[in-house]
Structures are given as structure tokens and as C-alpha cells.
Symmetry: C2
């Protein structure tokens, strides 16, 4: 008798595992169930359907050649049986059965399995506040919610939307609503910054500036305390600081593993509720596989359990599950955590740890910030990319990389290059020598990524003494009251002139070229902050001054370009 595999969940990992398994074991029987009517869709595409960029919701559920992946598709093309609008009620591991309920009829049925796949996914977190059940309050995690939001926008009944949560989904939804529908959008984030855990404070400021420039109101360090309604529909969001009008509230305060049924069956989970799996994606019951948003896998940087709810993870892990269901021995060792998000004019992208997470994990780490053109600087089409490298000081090991840029693909070209190295503990020398493909339309001869490695070395060896843009901003804002610090612009006079005129008392210009001749003008009794466009001239000036015995200097990483990108008032 051929093997029977039951798959609970038919969005990403489930279908991938089912189809892979069937390709390897064509005689086996697979039954896949899902509580929703729609299955096998690209949930990450929801913001683009809401915005209207993806016109028809079927596109999210279709193959590249526009065949909708409905139960009939799975039956005919994949020989996989699918039961939609069918909920798994409980698992009896001893009997190897799953009790399911057909939601339309209320009828229950028991499915026997030889192997079981739990593709349970995640659900949007619901903060403990009143009003979540008001009409107009929704998450954005499935196609039904996506259609609700799009229909609300199309109906023209929404003037103001509040998005609770400033992570990936929250920001993508903010862009979708503000950019394409032109309504008032406010993002409320509990943490002190957008995308907490994914970007340094400096880079998150660049993200915030991009959103604010494009009309989104960003409120960080602010807590939603309740939602207020009128006639059963949401009308206002009350935070600990203000009240916001809103006819639409999107809950995007993170997701949690949807594992109640698995826990009830006695499978091991971590404190977050994520299923514990081995590198073959087996749960604590070797006949039950899992993956995607409902499991924990190792963070390959820290070696600790990680949580990576991402469609790409689900797909890759699904293939591993499918292979192993068929008796293969595929492994998924873990992840470094790589990601990208497109905002208005910029995209943000990263892999591995940020400086804050590295410090919190106990690494003795520094953060390197580089601003440089993404192509040869003489090539006409180019943009200045912002790139940060997180480096463990004693070992020179690279722990993470993050960046923002207007040309997102070029940014991913740098992040991917490091993401695939990170698990092997690359050092800054590996980054300095990293073989980024070179030609003037695509990179500099000394690419920004290589430069980031070089700068890290200069900092670790004490040659470059740096401050980051936000520290510069703080010192600059204190300039009137702090006489232990002064500021020298090392650019050519033409660049410095507007600042000299605007700040005659505090802005001083000594171009790098004149440092030797004007040495006497450099104060030795206070910290001299050296600034230029991106940090290069300031570093050279710092070395020239050091040679002359003047070492009371710091240079600003990223320089005036970074200040502009974070929206600093200077």
C-alpha cells in the first residue's frame, strides 16, 4: 500500500512539500487541507495587491503563466488532493490520525496518515487592547484580509488609516496606502524606532525620513491603548500620547507561530510557541515534519534558536520536507536572517545581526557606516548607497550587514554577497577582498562593500577614530552650550560655503589640502569633529593631523551625505 501523507496548511510550505514529495514518490497519496478557500498564494504580495500594482488577486495565486493554483490544479497537475475550508481540529499521534472539520457543513472526518506535515504558519499578534473586533480593524496576512483592505480603499470610505507596527508588513502597507491611494497614513510603533531589530538607529532614521518625506506620519515609542468605534466601526486610535482619526486600522505588530493544535498533540515548542525541528525539519515526533512561520530554526550567527517568518524560508524548507518525506536526507541547517523591503524612494536590506542585536547577544562589536556611489563615480547613472557592517572586535568576524539605497537591486547585490558568507564566519579581510563583480555600470573598482571591510580595519586598528551621523547630530545640536567640541569641514571651499554663511560661529572650513599650512588653526584643547561629504576627506585629514601630533579628532562616518539622508536639521 502506498504511503499517505497529510499536509495541514496549503499556503507556502505545504504545497511546496506536497509537490516535491509527489515528484519523488509519484505513487504516494497526499491530502492537503486548509481552512481558507484560497490556497497556495504569495502572501508577501498582499501589499502590492492592496496598492493596486497587482490588479487581480488571482495573480497572487497563479503560476508564472497565469494558471490559478486551486484544488483542481493540484489534483490534475500535481496529483495532490486538497480540501479547502477544512480545519484541522486535533492530531492523534498514537493512532496517526487527524480529525478535521469541513467548515461549510460542520461535518467532521478522520484522516489517517503515515507522515504528517504541519504547515501551520503564523497569525498576526493581537495586542491586549480594546476595540480589536470593531469593523475596519484587520490584519494583512491572508487574501481575505487583503481583499477587505483593497475594497475599503476602492470604496473611498477611508480618509485616514492607522497601521499598528512599524516592521516589514506595517511599512509595506503604509507605502501601499499612501503612495497609491493618497490617504492619510500613520504608523504607530511601540519601539523607539521603525524596523526594530533589523536596522541600526542611523539607518532606521533614513527609512523614517523616506516615509515622512512621502507624507506618512511616523510615531515611534508610542503605545496604542485602545481603539474607539462609532456604530460598530472603528473611528479613532487612542495611543498613550494622542488620539488619531482612523476608518481603517491594520494590525501589523508582528506574528506568532500558529501552533495550538501541535502543542495540544504534545509536540515540543519553544517559549515563543514555535515548533522545535531538527535540520531534517522533523518535529519531536519523527513522523511529523514542519517548517515555515511555525517553527524555530538555528540562527547561524548566534547559534541560538531563531524565528524567521518569511515566504522564502517556507519555500526552501518545504522542498527539504518533501525530499525527506520520500526517504531522502536533505537538510536545512538554519538561517542568518536576510531580508529586503521596498519603501518609497529607498529600499532597505540586511542580513545577520545589527549593532544593537550584536551587543545584546554579548558580542564586543562595532558598527561601520559607509556612504559611496554604487557604480563607478564617473558613470552617469548612480546613487549613493548607505552600507553598514557589524564586526566583532576581538575576532574581526563580520556579524551582519545592513543598508539602504534608492537603487534596491544594487543594494541586494551587496547584501546577498555577504548573506551567503555569514554562516562561515567571514572576517573583515574576506570583505575587503570580496569578489564583487566589477564594471563601471555596476560597481566601483574598489566597491562600497570592499570599502566597508577596509574602514572596519582602519577603525579596529585605531587609525580611524569615528562617530556616527547621529552622534554628530547630537554634538552639533549642543554646539551653543558645549565648548569641548568644535567642527571642521574638510571639503573644498565651494562645498563648505553655504554652511559657513549659515553658521558663522560654529562652522569652520579647512580643506584637506590646506591642513598642513593651517595647522595652527586646529584647536588642540577640545575634540575636533572632522566632517566632509562621505567621510573620506575627514579620514585623510585625521591622518594628516595625527602625523603632526594632533590626535584630538574624530571623523563623521558617512559625513554630510548621511546627515542629509537621516533628515538632520543642518
Amino acid at each position: 500500500m502506498s504511503k499517505h501523507v497529510v499536509v495541514i496548511g496549503a499556503v507556502a510550505l505545504g504545497p511546496k512539500a506536497a509537490c516535491r514529495f509527489k515528484r519523488l514518490a509519484p505513487d504516494a497519496k497526499v491530502t492537503m487541507i486548509d481552512q481558507s478557500p484560497r490556497i497556495s498564494y504569495g502572501g508577501c504580495g498582499i501589499p502590492y495587491f492592496v496598492s493596486g500594482e497587482v490588479n487581480n488577486i488571482d495573480a497572487l495565486q497563479a503560476t508564472p503563466y497565469n494558471v490559478v493554483r486551486d484544488p483542481e490544479f493540484f489534483r490534475v497537475n500535481k496529483d495532490v488532493d486538497v480540501l479547502t475550508e477544512t480545519r484541522a481540529v486535533s492530531i492523534d499521534r498514537a493512532a496517526r490520525t487527524v480529525l478535521v472539520e469541513h467548515l461549510r457543513t460542520g461535518e467532521q472526518q478522520t484522516l489517517s496518515y503515515d507522515k504528517l506535515v504541519l504547515a501551520l504558519g503564523s497569525r498576526a499578534n493581537r495586542p491586549p487592547v480594546e476595540g480589536l473586533d470593531l469593523a475596519g480593524v484587520t490584519a494583512a496576512t491572508n487574501l481575505e484580509e487583503a481583499e477587505f483592505i483593497r475594497n475599503a480603499m476602492a470604496a473611498g470610505t477611508v480618509s485616514n488609516a492607522v497601521i499598528v507596527g512599524g516592521g516589514f508588513i506595517g511599512l509595506e502597507m503604509a507605502v501601499a496606502l499612501a503612495d497609491m491611494w493618497g490617504i492619510g497614513v500613520t504608523v504607530v510603533e511601540l519601539a523607539d524606532r521603525l524596523m526594530p531589530g533589523f536596522l541600526s538607529s542611523t539607518l532606521t532614521r533614513m527609512v523614517r525620513h523616506d516615509l515622512e518625506k512621502n507624507g506618512v506620519t511616523v510615531l515611534t515609542g508610542e503605545k496604542v491603548v485602545r481603539l474607539e468605534g462609532e456604530d460598530g466601526a472603528v473611528a479613532r486610535v487612542v495611543t498613550d500620547k494622542r488620539t488619531l482619526d482612523a476608518e481603517l486600522v491594520i494590525m501589523a505588530a508582528g506574528v506568532s507561530p500558529n501552533t495550538a493544535i501541535a502543542k495540544a498533540a504534545g509536540l515540543e515548542t519553544d517559549p515563543r510557541g514555535a515548533l522545535i525541528v531538527n535540520d531534517r525539519m522533523q518535529t519531536s515526533d519523527p513522523d511529523i515534519y514542519s517548517g515555515g512561520d511555525c517553527v524555530t530554526i538555528p540562527n547561524l550567527i548566534t547559534g541560538k534558536p531563531g524565528f524567521f517568518p518569511l515566504g522564502s524560508m517556507a519555500n526552501r524548507q518545504g522542498r527539504v520536507v518533501g525530499t525527506n518525506l520520500a526517504g531522502g536526507n536533505a537538510t536545512f541547517p538554519g538561517a542568518v536572517g536576510s531580508w529586503v523591503v521596498k519603501l518609497f524612494e529607498i529600499s532597505a536590506c540586511g542580513a545577520g545581526l545589527t549593532i544593537e542585536t550584536a551587543l545584546r547577544e554579548g558580542f564586543d562589536a562595532i558598527n561601520v557606516h559607509v556612504e559611496q556611489f554604487d557604480r563607478a563615480h564617473f558613470f552617469p547613472e548612480k546613487t549613493i548607497m548607505s552600507l553598514e557592517l557589524v564586526v566583532e572586535k576581538p575576532t574581526r568576524r563580520v556579524l551582519g550587514i545592513q543598508g539602504v539605497s534608492t537603487l534596491g537591486d544594487a543594494l541586494t547585490a551587496r547584501i546577498n554577497a555577504v548573506a551567503t558568507m555569514l554562516a562561515d564566519k567571514p572576517t573583515i579581510e574576506d570583505i575587503s577582498n570580496a569578489e564583487i563583480v566589477y564594471s563601471p555600470p555596476f560597481a566601483s573598482a574598489m566597491d562600497i562593500l570592499n570599502v566597508a571591510g577596509n574602514v572596519a580595519e582602519n577603525i579596529l586598528e585605531g587609525r580611524a577614530r569615528v562617530i556616527d551621523p547621529e552622534e554628530f547630530e547630537r554634538l552639533w545640536n549642543e554646539r551653543a552650550s558645549n565648548d569641548t567640541v568644535c567642527f571642521i569641514d574638510t571639503r573644498l571651499a565651494g562645498n563648505a560655503q553655504p554652511f559657513l554663511e549659515k553658521y558663522p560661529d560654529h562652522w569652520k572650513n579647512i580643506p584637506e589640502e590646506q591642513i598642513h599650512d593651517r595647522l595652527g588653526e586646529v584647536p588642540t584643547d577640545r575634540t575636533v569633529v572632522l566632517v566632509c561629504n562621505t567621510g573620506l576627506r575627514a579620514y585623510d585629514a585625521q591622518l594628516m593631523l595625527a602625523k603632526e601630533g594632533v590626535s584630538n579628532t574624530v571623523s563623521v562616518q558617512g559625513g554630510m551625505v548621511a546627515m542629509h539622508k537621516i533628515g538632520a536639521d543642518i
Copy 2:
């Protein structure tokens, strides 16, 4: 007494080594010489100056903030002395001196050194043909030649140009001349394909199709036998097959290390003439460093000596030289060979070995060809990327990756990800699980790179039996006379219809969905070539047929999309 370092050559590696050294050892003295008037320029930018995209030649010699890197710049900003129009005549290693000649005056001078850097670069190969000294015949390796070509174009005296050599420089020049100046351009390449050694035959066909679509005449497998002139200026290029009119001939038949002076001084070179250096970039004389286009470094894939004449190599190696000159211990272990080139509508990019080079090096290897969207297929802006993976069969080790795409940055995002892994001998499982950053505007949930790893596994395990687009083209062209082969289009009827009408005798359509019902129509007495848009449906159909005992099938890698891209007549 402070150390004196002499640097011969001031284009890429020389200035980088000099400046890095001075930053580490500010008290040392550096003298850099070059025979040209212009120094420290981006030679890789020449095609973009010739095209006019870079308007002013100074831009190639300037910093990102438009300061020209002339001798005065190096003196004031870098404390490096530069002698231009100064030629190194000979090196006396015992005396540690370099005899130099000032080209304007003919005067000679002896420079003493503690350490010497040979940044000798490369020179364009000169095939042994008559007429190379005619006016209008030039290489494109330095700024003087670049100005000559641009001036010739601007003067309007050139109606036809012939480019001898179909490698990177030759093709970039072809694009520059045809795209921006609209003249007749012919590329003559001795090998049987463009970019020999860098792309598979299939991908090189895509490059050729791009050039031909845009008006460039491509002649491969053709040898230039002489250049003919009129009144001392070139007028015709005579090949072994025809005579071409040409008022401009650009020699781009590769480059060779420019090491005569080093060889005369007794330094070790390889058969090609490239200086042998260790991983600290020291030549056989430990006081003499070298790097860039004039050295051989290990190919990290084959372990054999490699030759990588690329500006990015020179810059990264220059920094290693500078560090070691100052007593540091930086290393440059070698290269996998990564590259990118922008053509008309497409760019081509790669790293490591092609299938042909892998086989020639003795690897038992296969080539995997994948066509897939570079973003989520439902995202509005996307393009179908072509990607190939070269895999060693017994070890499943990935030896190389190449691709072409209209969106070059997205292509580099995949190639860079693999380029940085290649030296560590990744397997196809590493590629299947490679953590390419994911979001619908940038990648698919199962990215094309992951898919390439997956397809490689399916082929190696015998599940997928494939032919490449050129083999399909050959079989198709033989269709009238070869009755051992038949063709089945597994797409839906709508896609197949035009082909059924055009080729009623040879095109058969059985959509994947109907395979089971129409099994009797699949011949079992000949090879059945299964084709679809990109190869996915054909693979599924192949598995369905195999399940029914029909195993006389092959599927076409890349499918009709690849056929279209190579310009096949179908």
C-alpha cells in the same frame, strides 16, 4: 632614515598601493612614475567616454567629488611624489635602483628604493598581421587612445569600424560606437563564439542576438589576415572570409602582462609572462611587490595559476601591497574570476568556470540552464533572467555560475552571492538553500538561484533528463530528416496554437494537464522532446510520463523563452 618606496605605474594598483602605504607610514617617502601624462584613471570607463556617456575625460581621472587626481593632487593630498611622462628603463636589484628616462627631455635618472612596486599593467595583444601601424588602428587601453577614438567619432570621418576581438573590451566598444554614434560596427572574433571562456555556447548566443538586434555585425570563427590602407590610413580589414570597409580599427584581442622590464631584471614569470607573486603580493624578490594586470594569482576554483586583468583586482591587491609595504601582513589568496558586462538591452555576468572550461580542466561537470522571473512573477516590473550553474557530478560541487538578463543589477545580485561562496567549494545543496534576500519586488520566494540548485539535483539524480536550447535547435532543424525524434509542446493550447499552425507536421501539443488522458498519443519508439515556456511544465510532464513507464523523453532547459533569447528560427 625613512623608507623610500618607488612605484612603477600610476594607473590603478600603483596609486592604491602608494596611498595605502602612506596612510600607514606617513613618514615614508614614495615616488611613483608613469610614462603617460595622465595617471590614476579608471581605464574601465573608456567605453563610456568613447560613447559620450562620460562627457569629459577628466571625470575618469577625478575623485567622486571632481578633484582631478594629477601629480599635484598626489603631492598635496597624499604626500606622494609623481613623475609623469617618465619611463622605467631598467631595474638593478642588487643596487636597489631603477633607471628612469624623462620622456620630454630624454634625460635619465637613477632612483634608489628600499621597496619597489611594479604596477606594470598589461598591453593590448597585437596579432601578427600587416597594417597595425596604419592611422586609424588603435587599442582602447589608455586615455590617449580613448581620446583618439572619441575625436575620430566626433569628427564624423568614421562610417565603419571593425573591432578585432569579441571579449569584454571589444563588446563594450561595439556598444559604445553603435549605440551612441550610429556607425556601422563589425566585431571579428577568432574563436567560435563571443566572450570565449566566459559564457556557455547558449549564453553567448544570447549576447550575440542582443548585438545583432542592435545593428552590430558579429563574425565569429573568423581570422583577420591583414589591414589595408589608403594614404597611410586604414581603409579595409581583410579576414580569411571577406573584406570589410573600416576607417577605424580597434584592437581588442586580449591583453598580455607588460613585464619586459621585470623579466630583464630576472624576476620569475609564468609562460604567459605574468609575474609570479605570493599571497602577500611579493615577487620572487621579496623587496619587490606587484599586482594587477601584470601578475598571476591562483584561480581558487582550479587551484592553478590564473590571470585576472581587471581594475577591481588591481585596486584590492594594491591595498594589500600598501599594507605589506608598511610591515603589515595582508594577503590576497587568489580569485574565482567574477565579471560583468553591460551590452545593449542585456548584461552578462559570471563567476568561476563555464561548462567548457570546467570540462577542459578535467572536471566531470554538467551545465544547468534556468529561465525564471527575477522578481515574484506577480510583481508588475520583472524580467526573465537566464542563469546557468556549472556543477561537478561526483562531488555536486558548484564550479561556476553565469547569466544574462535585461536587469543587470538583479543579475549581479545572484552572481555576487555565489562568487563569494565559490572558493569554499559550495555544493548544490548550498545553492538550493542560499539565503537570497526576499521580497516580491526583488526575488521570488523560491529564487531563480535556489531553483538552479534544485534543477541541478534533479538532473544529477536522473529525474530530469534534459537537453539545452542549442541541442533542441539542432534536433528541430533536423526534423524533416530525423524520424527518431518527435516534439511535444506541454503548454496550454493557447500558447501552442501559433506553432501548431506554423508547423502542422512536426509540432504536437499535449498540455501537461492532459498527459494522463492522452498517453496513447505519446510515441514510445523515438525520443520525445518535451518543451514548454521555461522547462517547468516539460519537467512535470516528464515525471508524469515516467510514472506511466514512458521514459524516452527529454525536456528542454529554458524552453521556448531560451529559444527566443538565442534568436533561434522557430
